[in-house]
Symmetry: C2
Subunit: 595 residues, 2 copies
């Protein structure tokens, strides 16, 4: 199945021949866009002229085609036309919908391509999950390239649903839709010279492809060592100095504006004439509400232009640069032989898309799709592989106790930092009742549990979280980076237990429980990560979940995303997995009780 050619991503020789014939004037164009202001992201200038299209490809560009022979002709009245945008690093899973529904959300905004690292589904369903992603991405008005997830599981400090080794990654790299090795999050192991991790990085060289980086806050000798291994990009910079250092050391700098991680404005001063070819825009993880309100990578282009970056430079960071970094053939510019992925802009200053073309076909106009995108049919065995993924042992919930001793005085609490995915370790006086450490809503301390849910070992990790504002009940979900075990925060164990049980019943998703009742929920039957509904439907469900959580006292703006990141043991400082409480910098389990 992995060698199935993804026709949508590659131009055939016959298509190329047709484009050459149209360009040379020996054949009629299928479409001629006349009277355009063409944003040239290669030379960073805007020129006048026409774009002659031959099927899926641009045949020729310039005034020489103003009078070209064509089947259909559109006078753009001097409007700006730019290449369709390409998001250089996205986990579509964060949108909570399937690729078709994701396309529905971003294509009308001018996003015509994304590079998807299906790291989340891979952690649940392995290679079959990635195959599901590739099949679910075919034939859409959005070109979806795949990064081969490199860290499944992410660390030895968690239990994932799958294990992807060097041979499996190598096999994925042979697939025509796969354009790179996904983010190597195991930076500590790589810097330490771990053989298996070095082998994963070396796959980039063996397969003449890119290796994406993930090295938050790593600087000095550490980042030099990390990059020496062959890593080509980084999208985790949160500080200007960190980003400058990485740029100098050779990274393709992906400036990120996600939902929980908003780094673009901090980093924009580095997007200068001298570095304009070394910056790409990425969204990484965006929630449904943000996708609906602000869009995808188009949002970053708008921010950059509003911040004073020249439109051609801003657009380039979300098209040409990313296409070159990934060696995406015939993508990312308005040039002869390139795919006719184009945006006719209503205004270049506000970067608002009027008409959007994908592969030479008008797919959206004035923010609305010309026709709804239907999710492609996927092989039955792949559907089976991604469904019914929540397998918890019946007694798991009975193991949420946190025993105390007479010596127990101080406990570690995870504190999420608002609007970032970093956490810190807080220390607090333990509240002990009947020999157990318990939640203490009066001091904003809730119990946090992580249950292995892949049917593997039934591990349960138990800890404490502060800063959530939870006063009663519980919230829980099967989205938990990167292992996607069940994460649940609550005050009473009974509510935690009910929440976990309900997640198993609906095949994964999110639930809010209040005093013995499920008060809000969203089913995510695909790998416990994705809904089969539209993004609008999912967004409404999320609003209800958020409202129900707020009703329990939660103060976090995106409680379920925050909850999900509490289980991510690769980003400092303190996390919880099914192995227990994790000190990320030390790279090991630490007890809840400070001894």
């Amino acid at each position: 199945m992995l060698d199935k050619t993804i026709d949508g991503l590659v131009a055939t020789q016959a298509e190329v021949a047709s484009a050459v014939a149209v360009a040379a004037g020996r054949a009629r164009a299928s479409l001629l866009l006349r009277n355009a202001r063409i944003v040239n992201v290669i030379t960073n200038e805007i020129t006048r002229g026409s774009i002659a299209i031959a099927g899926r490809l641009i045949a020729g560009v310039g005034e020489t085609y103003d009078d070209a022979d064509t089947v259909e002709s559109v006078d753009l009245g001097g409007a700006h036309v730019c290449p369709g945008l390409i998001d250089g690093h996205v986990h579509i899973e964060s949108s909570l919908v399937r690729p078709a529904a994701y396309a529905n959300a971003v294509v009308p905004r001018g996003v015509t391509g994304v590079v998807w690292d299906p790291h989340e589904i891979a952690n649940v369903a392995g290679i079959a999950g990635i195959e599901w992603c590739i099949q679910s991405s075919s034939g859409l008005p959005l070109s979806i390239w795949i990064d081969a997830p490199s860290c499944v599981p992410s660390t030895r400090l968690e239990t994932a649903g799958a294990r992807i080794g060097v041979p499996e990654i190598a096999r994925l790299l042979g697939h025509p839709a796969v354009v790179g090795v996904g983010e190597l999050m195991s930076y500590a192991a790589l810097i330490d010279g771990d053989d298996d991790t070095l082998a994963r990085a070396y796959l980039g060289q063996l397969h003449r492809t890119t290796v994406n980086g993930h090295a938050p806050g790593v600087t000095g000798r550490g980042v030099q060592a990390y990059l020496a291994a062959g890593v080509g990009s980084d999208h985790e910079c949160t500080e200007l100095d960190e980003a400058r250092e990485k740029l100098r050391a050779g990274v393709f700098l992906m400036m990120r504006e996600g939902s929980a991680t908003r780094n673009l404005k901090t980093l924009l001063p580095l997007l200068t004439a001298e570095t304009a070819d070394r910056v790409g825009f990425v969204t990484d993880d965006r929630l449904p509400a943000d996708l609906i309100r602000d869009g995808g990578v188009d949002h970053l282009v708008r921010i950059a232009i509003a911040s004073g970056v020249s439109p051609a430079t801003a657009i380039r960071a979300a098209s040409w640069n990313t296409a070159r970094y990934y060696s995406l053939n015939r993508r990312g510019a308005i040039a002869p032989g390139y795919f006719a992925d184009l945006i006719v802009l209503e205004s270049i200053e506000t970067f608002s898309a009027g008409a959007v073309y994908h592969s030479g076909v008008l797919v959206a106009r004035n923010g609305t799709l010309v026709r709804d995108v239907v999710s492609p049919v996927v092989d039955a065995e792949l559907l089976t592989a991604v469904r019914d993924s929540v397998r918890v042992s019946p007694d798991a919930a009975t193991r949420f106790r946190l025993p105390a001793t007479s010596a127990t005085t101080t406990v570690r609490c995870i504190r999420p930092i608002p609007d970032q995915i970093l956490t810190t370790e807080d220390r607090a006086e333990a509240t002990v009742r009947d020999g157990e450490i318990v939640a203490d809503p009066s001091r904003d301390i809730a119990k946090l549990v992580c249950l292995e849910r892949h049917g593997s070992n039934g591990n349960v990790g138990v800890g404490l979280v502060t800063g959530f504002g939870l006063r009663r009940g519980a919230i829980a979900g099967t989205v938990a980076h990167d292992h996607h075990n069940i994460m649940a925060a609550g005050i009473a164990d009974a509510d935690l237990e009910l929440a976990v049980g309900r997640l198993a019943e609906i095949g994964g998703g999110f639930v809010v429980v209040d005093r013995g009742h499920v008060v809000a929920e969203l089913a995510l039957p695909i790998a416990g990560l994705l809904s089969e509904e539209s993004i609008a439907t999912v967004d409404i469900a999320m609003q209800k979940l958020d409202a129900a959580a707020r009703d329990l006292g939660v103060t976090m703006s995106a409680p379920f995303m925050t909850l999900s990141f509490l289980g991510l043991p690769v980003i400092p400082e303190l996390r919880l997995t099914d192995h227990g409480l994790i000190d990320v910098r030390a790279g090991g389990v630490v007890p809840v009780v400070v001894e």
Copy 2:
């Protein structure tokens, strides 16, 4: 043989692991260059610090390594260090020496890598000739990558010694030393949609590699059609407007300064901050004298800096940009994990190399190699394939007559344009003697012949050339782009005959004949193209040949190079091959006599 790995070009996983260990501070550097001004071609700036080297690779860069643990340490006293230069497009054959001797000439100047399109040897000796090139390039202090020659023969208007089809090019692209499809000179066929030519261009897409362009003077719809086929570069621009148009259309613009083709100063205005990533420097064809006096691609860097281009931008065009265009892994910058190919500059303003490092080893100092480069041993069957390549039929020389009729009044003469490789068609009154059109030194008209010499069909083309200044005797050579048949210009047929006979005796090369005597010669026993001597020896021989030619009245500054290009039927306007006189724009044979 083609699957033999070229160890010199690829870093092993063990080498990468060692670089990571040194960068992280877990192992000692093999060499530490301290107190450097480091030219960062990625961010176009100059920073202070140290370069820690682990074997062949740079481990880490920056002030954090000032006190790194190391085996050997060199204090650079604040000197500038830049990446070793990479020449993006060269035919080493034009140097008339083997790769080792070529390395001897350019390495002390800071050239540590070249991309060689061995198109000339391929036209004589086919795939075996290319294998000879690869073997002869291994283990040198110069990294030599290979472009797979795409046009052998160049046209249907000549007889070459070999024929390389789509399957052979595809096989070459599988070799680890081969980094692209060589220049597609058949632009007219490509624009016309010729299937075989389209298939050659499409190999770039199939093999995820570059396709180099060659489209002199092609603009408008023609160049759009040419590029739509998948061509990625061009090095034939002679005019600013032509180059600007090609840049806008997406080419990686190779600015060339060869011996016969000096385009850099004309094109330099296009090397701006907006296009600084889209320009590469190349030498294409350089004669021994120019290599000795001015150097290789270092000469272009000097010209650019002297013309006001910032040093980092100029150096970048001869390193980083070219490395990225060809996806040369770990090359072209001073960054962690990159090959330690470095130049310590005596002065960045004059761009004079002090010490030169290749793969972490000091290979030259103050313009002199640390040790002489020895040509690697080549398999016996490959040597056989490239030697004894001049095979002319005994009666060939008797066919130099140009019969006239009573109607003969006007003849076509080829006129080479000085310092370019273009020619024009001149028309002149015919000088007829004994029923034959003959040379007329009083009007600077010489006879020009082209003899098939590969033992194939014994074709002889006969024409006239003007602008050479020849008054008596003959000059002849086996270097004749691209078929490399024997080209000879002379006044008397007997001298032409003697010159051809002598070339057959010495296995190819250049000869000057004066009134029945060979007065100067240079043997080029490898494919009739390369000497086995040093470049200095060859240069002296060329000086003697040039002096002997001047003694015959020749006024051209480089008569043998000019002679060789007279047989090139892909560059306008009038040429001579073994098929006869060629009208390049019309793409066919035309008679000498104007009817």
